[in-house]
């Protein structure tokens, strides 16, 4: 289906693939496997997060929607020992990193319904570009609420 713009040129209608039930004012968690957390190669004394954690082919970048009962810091520590948690605003992921969200099942863990969401490149749900991954890494590195160990 295409709309016809004022110039008479057909403007393709892009379907909105972003799931807006994942609200902009929500916070989501990205777990940081300690394998992605390493000493800064520039010897700054800081730790850095590898690009691998936000790189993807067909599957999206996994995030969790924390709640007060199951997706809690203590349960993450119990089920994912050594993993860190970066807590990001959905709005930042959408607006700064240009992502959309899709609610998907996690093939490797059984989370409460609608709790596991994946980020993709907006608007076509494709794989992220380099600048988007770079922005996500910046957001992750500056929003760690639990350090990987």
């Amino acid at each position: 289906m295409a709309n016809v713009g004022g110039s008479g040129v057909a403007v393709p209608v892009v379907p909105d693939l972003d799931d807006h039930s994942v609200r902009d004012d929500e916070l989501v968690w990205h777990l940081i496997d300690p394998q992605y957390y390493r000493d800064d190669p520039l010897n700054s004394g800081k730790k850095v997060i590898d690009s691998g954690t936000v790189s993807h082919g067909k599957s999206g970048i996994s995030f969790l929607r924390p709640d007060s009962s199951v997706i809690t810091v203590s349960n993450i520590q119990k089920n994912f020992p050594g993993f860190g948690i970066a807590q990001l605003k959905v709005e930042d992921i959408r607006k700064k990193a240009g992502c959309l969200f899709a609610i998907e099942n996690d093939p490797l863990f059984s989370w409460p319904k609608d709790s596991h969401v994946c980020a993709y490149k907006a608007p076509k749900k494709s794989r992220l570009k380099g600048w988007q991954k770079d922005e996500l890494i910046r957001l992750l590195e500056s929003n760690l609420i639990l350090l990987p160990t």
Binding site: I32, Y36, S59
Partner: protein, 126 residues
């Protein structure tokens, strides 16, 4: 005479040997147990990563960070305080590059020789 300064990262070719050993390690990763953990890249991805390392002619690079994504994308990453260079190697054999300053990115043609131009830009030679 020892100066106390670690120059090992700047020894010619050492980055290449380091990268190849990291690619080899990634190729034998166990399957990921979580959606946030690295997965072993496919044989095709690994072969393309070796080809990329071979295609980069510069010997004076420092060692890269090498990581595999949760779905097996292999990343080679160089960081400087003000810029970053990342090559991402996908399961379909595509190699993408991203240079943060100046912000350029794209897909490397099959021969991978263009990687040298990107590395030269990263090293501020162009």
């Amino acid at each position: 005479m020892r100066t106390g300064e670690d120059r090992s990262a700047y020894v010619p070719s050492s980055w290449r040997e380091h990268a190849e050993s990291q690619i080899a390690k990634a190729s034998v990763l166990p399957p990921a147990k979580t959606s946030w953990s690295p997965s072993p890249p496919s044989q095709r991805t690994v072969a393309r990563a070796y080809a990329l390392v071979k295609a980069i002619g510069q010997n004076d690079l420092f060692v890269p960070i090498t990581s595999a994504s949760p779905d097996g994308v292999l990343c080679l990453e160089w960081r400087q305080p003000d810029r970053k260079l990342v090559f991402s190697i996908f399961e379909d054999g595509v190699v993408e590059y991203y240079l943060s300053v100046p912000c350029v990115e794209g897909e490397l043609p099959d021969g991978l020789e263009k990687a040298n131009e990107v590395v030269e830009m990263f090293l501020h030679r162009r």
